[in-house]
């Protein structure tokens, strides 16, 4: 497993886009996604562990199987998690950033929306505490 070696103030440009673990990093999800594709990492963000990261948008994260959120702050929900959520009308979420088999631990999301299947959206509405 490769740990990205940069400080909490590291920008997107200094990250290894193929790293399996990111700790204390600040980056834009769209930057990571694009860099990962260009580095040969495939068309989804897969098999990564994000810990204590600030992950910025604008981006819509398509949450696929095996994604876990632990003590993650989804951003200013305005008291209703539905403010962050979108239902895809088709089977393929074009424009969203697909994420699979990833863990987000104590991360802070900023200007990120979330999409996924109905079960996921329902679970997030019911289980994510909002301020």
């Amino acid at each position: 497993m490769t740990d990205q070696p940069f400080s909490p103030t590291a920008t997107s440009r200094t990250l290894d886009p193929l790293a399996k673990a990111f700790t204390g990093a600040t980056f834009s999800l769209f930057d990571l996604y694009r860099a990962s594709i260009q580095a040969g990492g495939g068309v989804m963000i897969e098999g990564r562990a994000f810990t204590d990261c600030v992950i910025e948008g604008p981006a819509l994260m398509l949450v696929l199987e095996g994604v876990h959120f632990e003590s993650t702050n989804f951003g200013p929900t305005g008291g209703d998690m539905r403010n962050m959520l979108f239902q895809p009308l088709g089977n393929v979420g074009i424009g969203a950033i697909p994420v699979r088999n990833c863990t987000f631990t104590r991360c802070q999301f900023q200007t990120l929306g979330i999409t996924g299947n109905e079960t996921l959206l329902k679970m997030l509405i019911e289980q994510v505490p909002v301020g």
Partner: protein
Amino acid sequence: MTDPTPTMSPEEVAGRAMVARTSFEKEAVWLPSLAVQHWNAGQMAIDGKTFTDCVIEGPAVMAVMNGTTFDNCAMGTTTDVRNLLYRPLSTTKLAGVIGMSDCRFVRCRFVQVGFTGSDALLEELQGGIKTMSDVPKPSGTLA
């Protein structure tokens, strides 16, 4: 006369110049970057711009707001336009998407861009938008 932005980096200056532009022609436009430049300039939506013969690149989801029109555009590589569309679960706040109001897209191609908005807008897009296979590529060379 005092320079109003003496501490701006060259990147910030370039970003502000991009924000000030009202027309884009035969260019590749990276939508997330354009949005961030607008946010950094205090503008939470992209407003009043015309894009002609441009490639609009994501990954991004555009919130189509009042006055935004699409004229002979190729909206994405899909045979089912619903794959481009997202319905917000909230009517009061949309997180993570890029708001665009009073913008005009003429003969543009969208790559990895999804769309969201009101139910009426989504209905309209399902009925009327063209996918990549329907529209010939714009002529000319992209800058």
